[in-house]
Assembly symmetry: C2
Homo-oligomer: 185 residues x 2
């Protein structure tokens, strides 16, 4: 609104408004005009700064996890630890995950989701296991992990949502463990 703007300030206001709105309402249900209003500026400025709504989305929706918890746990508890990590994720991570999944109609958002799956799930897991087929095993484990998020957050299996955290961690963790460190043949 004020001409006094350091461009960076306005840009930051837009960035943080967009972050909040995209996380809460997703890509489709967030409008450029909402973002502008929230950042107390003009819709045209939003586009000026970020080229397009989609690029703004990509600039704000980065999903990462702190994978240290995966490193300092013994290999035999890796499965449990990952599930523990996943079900303990905060609303922000959930919002970004959902926004990416639901926005993946757009090719660039799909690419981001693909890369995120790789970086957040596949890579950390592959880094901790060994063996000739460690890549496939890491990917299968990542699929399990993604299945948990999909079921809890996207499909919203009410019964699983009500299930005791500890039980979920123990049972689903055991399944993950079976791919990560297969016992016999």
């Amino acid at each position: 609104m004020l001409q006094t703007g350091s461009a960076a300030t306005t840009r930051e206001a837009i960035h943080s408004a967009a972050t909040r709105l995209f996380q809460q309402r997703g890509f489709a249900r967030t409008t450029v005009r909402q973002i502008a209003a929230e950042a107390d500026t003009d819709p045209a400025l939003v586009i000026r700064h970020f080229k397009s709504k989609e690029l703004l989305f990509l600039e704000t929706m980065h999903l990462t996890i702190d994978d240290e918890p995966l490193l300092d746990v013994p290999l035999e508890r890796l499965g449990e630890r990952l599930v523990e990590l996943l079900v303990g994720l905060d609303g922000s991570a959930r919002g970004i995950f959902l926004a990416l999944v639901r926005g993946s109609n757009e090719p660039q958002i799909q690419e981001r989701l693909q890369a995120t799956h790789e970086q957040v799930l596949v890579r950390p897991l592959r880094g901790r296991i060994s063996g000739p087929d460690s890549d496939v095993r890491a990917r299968l484990a990542a699929a399990l992990a993604a299945g948990l998020l999909h079921t809890l957050w996207v499909a919203r299996d009410e019964a699983l949502l009500r299930t005791d955290r500890a039980e979920l961690i123990s049972r689903y963790g055991a399944l993950l463990q079976a791919v990560l460190t297969p016992t016999d043949t």
Copy 2:
């Protein structure tokens, strides 16, 4: 276009055009005007017949699987058989699944996805297993199954997509089997 319309004919034309377009391009990227053009009619008629784009979507996007293959297989092969079924699904099922997932920003579409998850995955699995915790086990197995679809279709793990079908069926099937018929410890 033709004034001679039996309403049912036009409605059917719209229905089938919408089915194809929603499957191919998803909810957001399909416009009412496209559907109308495809059905050789007027956008206003599309709305007249189905009240709204979203209701038309819900009317057309029904995902079911033939679960007979799950019934006639011995219990010990249920996991493998389900994976076989899933990776063998045709483009139509894939299109509907993706459309539901990506459309799940809309509350009603989310509900449909939730119900579909329940009916297509949880229910058939729970029907075949027994035990006090068969419900949880069915839901965990459904999560695994959904994880496979999510990873192949939504996240598009290229490496897994290139993986040999038989190997995928055997390995992921074994994981599923571990929830369905736990070998106890």
